[in-house]
């Protein structure tokens, strides 16, 4: 009539004809099976102990500071400083932020650096650290200090760092207008959804359209990461140009471009085109479409074999629909091979 092993309450109902007559204890499992229920008690203890252990493993600020002191004493030019996991970045900048520039914090890659220092906790490693054992490691309590030697940097010229020495122009109805470098009062506002705040010193291109300026900033990209880059919002189909005269051309250029997170994430904006020219000749172009994120390209920068050759590099940005096309780019000229890795 019934399942071979009916549930106890049901069995009780069958025996008595009504479950109302089932009293507490009458439907207990046999004692030998009750031991499994006690595992929940044991688990509760495990939960309490795990909580205490997790808390005891949190590094103290002194341990962070001790590791930072070592970096501060031994840091050289072209040393990068990172933290792992990335969520601890505010703590790194708290203890060592005086040794981290905006360019360091928003670097697109590690190619400009010759050594990588990392303060690590919980066994984490930076995503862009070499996939090998560090060349130096020391432990300060719960904080690991690691260093990888990356080798000679191939970066010859950083276009973001040097942007203030560039000439910025805007083409309006076919004629070229210079955007003057101005020193302004600090920007007002700030906060969620406001995007990039302009720095005090910038090339201002068109005062009725106050977003048409050029300057180095730190922008939140599609991955919500900081990018130290040149803000160069397009004006429309006619370009805004940034030109660097008499700069080393090296052998190739790495170029990154992207938009401010909130302007890209809805995937509703039009494309942005960035054209790279050397001595007036186009060597590469990037079409950035929403969803591309922080996009990269590499392009050779010289035709002759003379590594000391210098010339003019121009970056020009256009967009057929320029509304909320907050384009920002980072680029550097490098020597060596595009394909040869340092790691």
């Amino acid at each position: 009539m019934l399942d071979e092993s009916p549930p106890t309450e049901y069995a009780c109902a069958v025996v008595t004809g009504s479950s109302d007559k089932c009293e507490r204890g009458q439907n207990d499992s046999p004692p030998r099976r009750s031991v499994y229920w006690l595992l929940i008690l044991a688990f509760a203890l495990v939960e309490v102990i795990a909580h205490a252990v997790t808390r005891s493993r949190v590094p103290t600020i002194e341990q962070w500071r001790d590791a930072a002191a070592h970096v501060r004493a031994n840091r050289r030019e072209r040393d990068a400083i990172k933290v792992a996991p990335a969520w601890a970045d505010p703590i790194l900048r708290w203890v060592l932020g005086d040794r981290i520039s905006l360019a360091d914090a928003g670097a697109s890659d590690l190619d400009a650096y010759q050594r990588l220092w990392t303060l690590a906790i919980r066994g984490a490693r930076p995503a862009d650290a070499p996939r090998r054992e560090p060349d130096f490691s020391r432990r300060y309590g719960r904080v690991e200090l690691l260093r990888w030697d990356l080798g000679q940097s191939e970066v010859l010229y950083d276009l973001v760092k040097e942007v203030k020495s560039a000439e910025v122009t805007m083409v309006r109805r076919g004629s070229r207008e210079v955007c003057p470098l101005l020193s302004l009062l600090p920007a007002s506002g700030g906060g969620l959804g406001q995007g990039v705040l302009p720095p005090r010193e910038l090339f201002a291109c068109d005062s009725p359209r106050p977003w048409l300026w050029v300057a180095p900033v730190v922008m939140e990209n599609m991955s919500l990461e900081p990018r130290y880059c040149v803000w160069q919002h397009p004006a429309g189909k006619e370009p805004i140009r940034v030109s660097y005269r008499d700069v080393p051309l090296g052998e190739w250029m790495r170029f990154y471009g992207g938009l401010y997170y909130e302007h890209e994430r809805d995937l509703k904006g039009g494309p942005v085109k960035a054209v790279i020219r050397i001595d007036g000749k186009q060597i590469a172009e990037m079409i950035h479409r929403d969803g591309d994120g922080w996009k990269a390209l590499s392009a050779p920068t010289r035709e002759s074999t003379d590594p000391r050759k210098r010339g003019e590099i121009t970056i020009e940005v256009t967009a057929p629909r320029p509304h909320e096309r907050s384009f920002c780019w980072a680029a550097s000229v490098r020597r060596g091979s595009q394909t040869r890795g340092r790691r």
Partner: protein
């Protein structure tokens, strides 16, 4: 579940004690919590409504003029009035007689009281439907959920609506066998409607449940078993007629332009804007949202021992029903198989799952974190009470007979220990708190879970600001509202000489509340201040909560903006 037993005055004494102890605990710990964004909006609304109550009590005719009603009740009219009105009563009482130790408490009191009342109700509901020990454990297990403990402090609606929905469910359950409760049900449902829109879902839960009850009852009668319930849905009539009348009657905003304003209110919530929420490293800001969200967040934030007991209790209570449904031959009806004509287990399951399922829908906004399904947790706790009873019995079976009575006490202590430890440690960072399943707070940061929202953690920085800032210096507030900042001063926690600044550039200090999508604010500050170095980072278990930056520009020259 067993047929409900009659309770005695002692049961209500236990419930009242639970309420009073919890209320005292909430009042004692409330000053640690800065006011959250939403609370500050409700505080502004309460002050506005207080003007109307003032006019009403003083007998001024303007209380019934449309212009006056509209001006006063337009504030925050996207949420119904019941608890904001209660907040305004306590605010008025405090203004007149100074009854509370802090100004913020005068807004928060009724939120806290509703948390205490909910513990009482859970105990009573559990004691009636399962047993006293299960009810007691359920009440305590609910009180000691870290996120619940935080929300229980607030002048907001999330805990009040958990109280009201649980009370409506209790009233419905009683109404299945009582005419008096049928009438009360309509009144309570009206109060729930006047609390928050979560209550809209209740008739649907009851309709499904009652359909099942009807099927079970009809089959039992067909089998020759006696009548145990009436099958006319008087409860529905009561909810349909009394509920809306109380909803509209309690909300002066709806006294004119009633239908358009109801439509506007419904539309606001049916098409709510989407805010950001981090989940496993992804910042979700538009649908589709992950279906797993409420389930994983429940797993990550409710003490795991409590959840395990809930699952165990659920399995125990489902066994008779499932065995009946899958039995090859059935000698009895399901009514007798479960021993419960009201099918309480099914009601509890529906009440527990409905809020979670609704949030799991890919189109439902998830920005509220766990607060949007707090209404499920009383039933999580009640099933945990069932599991608790079973573990107690198992331990009693293993103990010598003379010590068997100690089993419930040992179990209570051990099974609540994780909840006690985690809740104590979560304060005042409960929205940043995660439990065992997430690897606790650092583990949740590794997983890329939301760190916080509402900007309330500024309350944990007042000592820093009081120590560091000179008179007249200012702070840019990031996610904290001006009203919430003001409340820190009104409560005497923050020096009155410290100001709020509207711009990052003109502020002497700027804060960033660390949420994934707030990264841009960090970068704005870096660009404007020219440094990436904060002067202080507030952490919780080593995880950054707020960074504070100092404007490097010399003091006295920060006031001009472009």
């Amino acid at each position: 579940m067993r047929r409900d037993r009659e309770l005695t005055i002692r049961d209500h004494a236990v419930g009242a004690a639970l309420m009073l102890i919890y209320l005292a605990l909430l009042i004692a710990t409330a000053p640690d919590l800065g006011m959250s964004r939403d609370e500050s909006f409700y505080a502004i609304a309460a002050e506005s409504y207080a003007e109307w109550f003032d006019a009403l009590v003083c007998g001024r005719d303007e209380a019934f003029y449309k212009e006056f009603i509209d001006r006063v009740w337009r504030v925050n009219h996207e949420h119904p009035p019941l608890f904001k009105s209660l907040f305004s009563f306590s605010y008025l009482a405090h203004r007149a007689w100074g009854v509370f130790s802090h100004d913020s408490l005068s807004y928060r009191f009724f939120g806290m009281l509703s948390a205490g009342l909910l513990l009482w109700l859970i105990y009573i509901f559990g004691a009636r439907s399962i047993g006293r020990s299960a009810g007691l454990f359920a009440s305590l297990g609910f009180a000691l959920m870290p996120r619940l403990f935080y929300h229980a402090h607030l002048a907001a609606f999330d805990v009040p609506i958990a109280l009201m929905t649980t009370l409506v469910i209790y009233a419905y359950w009683r109404a299945l066998t009582s005419l008096a409760w049928t009438l009360l049900l309509g009144v309570i449902f009206g109060m729930a409607l006047a609390t928050k829109h979560n209550s809209w879902v209740l008739p649907a839960i009851f309709a499904i449940h009652f359909s099942w009850v009807t099927v079970v009852e009809l089959r039992a009668r067909k089998n020759g078993e006696g009548k145990s319930l009436g099958l006319v849905p008087y409860w529905l009539i009561s909810m349909l007629f009394i509920g809306p009348a109380i909803f509209i009657g309690s909300w002066p905003w709806l006294w004119t332009d009633t239908w358009p304003r109801i439509v506007e209110y419904v539309a606001f919530h049916a098409h709510h804007v989407y805010y950001n929420m981090a989940y496993f490293g992804v910042n979700y800001f538009r649908p589709p949202f992950p279906i797993s969200y409420p389930w994983v967040m429940t797993l990550f934030t409710v003490p795991l021992a409590t959840l395990m007991l809930c699952v165990a209790g659920l399995a125990l209570k489902l066994r008779p029903l499932l065995s009946y449904l899958f039995a090859r031959k059935r000698a009895f009806s399901v009514r007798d198989a479960t021993g419960d004509p009201r099918q309480t287990t099914l009601l509890f399951i529906g009440s527990m799952l409905a809020p979670l399922v609704l949030i799991a829908l890919p189109s439902t906004p998830i920005f509220g974190g766990t607060k949007h399904w707090l209404t499920a947790y009383p039933f999580v706790a009640l099933f945990a009470g069932v599991g608790f009873d079973r573990v107690s019995e198992a331990l009693a079976n293993r103990l010598p007979k003379k010590n068997a009575l100690a089993a419930p006490l040992i179990c209570l202590a051990l099974l609540l220990a994780p909840a006690v430890v985690e809740t104590e440690h979560s304060h005042p960072f409960a929205l940043s708190h995660y439990g065992f399943a997430a690897g606790f707070v650092p583990g949740s940061a590794d997983l890329g879970m939301n760190r916080q929202y509402w900007g309330y953690t500024t309350g944990s920085l007042v000592d820093f600001f009081n120590r560091r800032l000179h008179p007249g210096e200012s702070v840019w507030l990031c996610d904290t509202t001006y009203k919430a900042w003001q409340m820190l001063s009104r409560d005497g926690r923050l020096k009155h000489t410290i100001r709020a600044a509207p711009d990052i550039a003109t502020a002497d200090y700027a804060m960033v509340h660390h949420e994934q999508h707030f990264a841009e604010v960090d970068f704005q500050i870096w660009t404007v201040y020219g440094t990436v170095q904060p002067v202080y980072v507030l952490t919780y278990d080593g995880v950054p909560i707020i960074s504070v930056y100092e404007n490097p520009k010399p003091r006295g020259r920060r006031s001009k903006t472009r």
